[in-house]
Symmetry: C2
Subunit: 320 residues, 2 copies
């Protein structure tokens, strides 16, 4: 069957029956934004809702990929099916991220309860956030128990992607440079759970202590509020991974008991709409050298006949 003629509704049925090749086809379709998929997206979004979505983010070099692999093993032992969406904001000429995923896939290749997919800016036509958000929806609709979304957590887009997660895990590591630590600061605010990975390294105790005191400072919390725990792990030998998995379950139970799940559904829905709307807007502002209303505005701005604020207002003036 030609790709152009592919029946994505059928692919969805197959994916729901456990066919990971069909799953990969669907995710490739959101990446390359196949118009035939549009009719199926409604079904995908309205049939999902059963999965737990865990976001894992942290600065480069914190060992996120190894940590996610270890978490994946532990969740499998507890009987859950697990899918991973690894979001790489670079367009990775080197293919490093892809290679890492192949290694992970190889470990679990005989296990039908594991699915790993990486998405890079290169692979995704237009918005990477949109593609990632759609991929999570597909995995949810296909019936996976836990979906892990992994990002390098450096740009605003990546922080935004975390809003579709029920639980956000922020990975720190002892002894990274100032630049990287500063980058981490933006992530602290969205963390439900902290992991200090490579906890056998020098300086690990200090990192844990600093995190705990920062969390206490942010504290003065209401009774019953969630205090993000700090878990120490060594992903490479599996230390602390059981603790991490227990804390993930504890956070889920707290959310359910505290009525927080509904709040997260709203935040997640808002982010889904935002990422898609941003992407639709970008589509309308394409190549300025191709004739379009946008190209006309660009020419006027380049000649300084119009300022870009006025141009942007003109572009979106008809918006509701």
């Amino acid at each position: 069957m030609k790709a152009a003629g592919r029946d994505y509704r059928l692919e969805l049925r197959k994916a729901q029956a456990g066919d990971t090749a069909a799953l990969s086809q669907l995710i490739s379709a959101v990446e390359s934004r196949r118009p035939q998929l549009d009719g199926v997206l409604h079904e995908i979004y309205t049939s999902g809702g059963g999965a737990r979505v865990v976001g894992v983010t942290g600065p480069p070099g914190s060992g996120k990929s190894s940590l996610v692999s270890a978490l994946l093993r532990e969740l499998r032992q507890r009987g859950e099916t697990v899918a991973v969406v690894a979001v790489d904001p670079s367009s990775a000429l080197t293919g490093g991220a892809i290679l890492g995923d192949r290694l992970r896939m190889t470990e679990h290749s005989a296990d039908s309860g594991v699915y790993v997919r990486s998405m890079s800016a290169r692979g995704a036509m237009g918005g990477l956030s949109r593609a990632a958000v759609d991929a999570v929806a597909i995995l949810d609709a296909a019936g996976w128990d836990t979906i892990v979304v992994e990002t390098v957590g450096v740009g605003q887009d990546e922080v935004d992607i975390m809003r579709i997660a029920h639980t956000v895990v922020v990975v720190s590591v002892p002894g990274l440079g100032d630049d990287v630590q500063a980058m981490k600061a933006g992530l602290l605010e969205i963390a439900d759970l902290h992991v200090v990975n490579k906890a056998d390294r020098e300086g690990a105790r200090r990192t844990v202590t600093e995190l705990r005191s920062m969390l206490r400072l942010a504290g003065a919390r209401k009774p019953g509020a969630w205090l993000p725990p700090v878990v120490e792990t060594v992903a490479l030998d599996g230390s602390g991974i059981e603790d991490l998995t227990d804390e993930l379950a504890r956070h889920w139970n707290w959310m359910a008991a505290a009525g927080e799940l509904e709040h997260r559904q709203l935040a997640s829905a808002a982010e889904r709409i935002r990422s898609i709307a941003r992407d639709l807007l970008l589509q309308r502002m394409g190549d300025p050298t191709v004739a379009s209303p946008f190209a006309d505005l660009v020419r006027q701005v380049a000649r300084r006949q119009l300022d870009p604020h006025a141009a942007a207002h003109k572009l979106i003036s008809g918006m509701e």
Copy 2:
């Protein structure tokens, strides 16, 4: 005078006369998106166009800030006035970036030909790209010769900001981890000039050789096309900074001779419109817990009565 009553047209006049306090007021106004500024933005955008905009980007830990400081010293010696806009995508609870800028400002505090400003996601209401793009326009309108825009270069937004530069400098450094090197790959495509900083480090030769062979592979260029040079620097002792400054001038002259400047003006205008339109869209998709058409859509998506694609289409359906 109260901030609410501030006359930004007067501030612009003062900034054009060399008053950096007035300049800082204007940039703060774009950061906090003061509505009184709107009337002045047209004047700002249409009166600019004289500045050379240099983008400097590279992975965390590559020593961008030190490199920019050294470049700043060299440009000053050549008689140019230089303004720096340092864009930090993290919301920097630690204030690391701000501290770095204070150090840089201290070095040049007696020199009215230098201006350094950092902008973080925390400082900028809404879109950081928009604020940075407006800040560059203000500095341009105020008559600065060279404006350096510095970013960590990790997310798509940061890559996009580079599109407002005439010349993009990508900083590499020997011996960073795979994660960081993969991140860099996305930046290679937009580089006009490569710097291998910390060139006294082990592995520097290999990094230079790898870059050069990658550039040759990308080659088979048309006669007269620009081949991005690779400059080795040690920012901390100033080695290679003269070369870098010469290469910046050579790129400018090539652009002027090859008709490339006009092309860059178009790309820059397109990016200015895009960043502002994105931001305007974000404003319309605010807090989903505050009553609005957006909040209604979010509720329907959270209840799975509507899919987010349909919701996003509804939001922007009136667009031209």
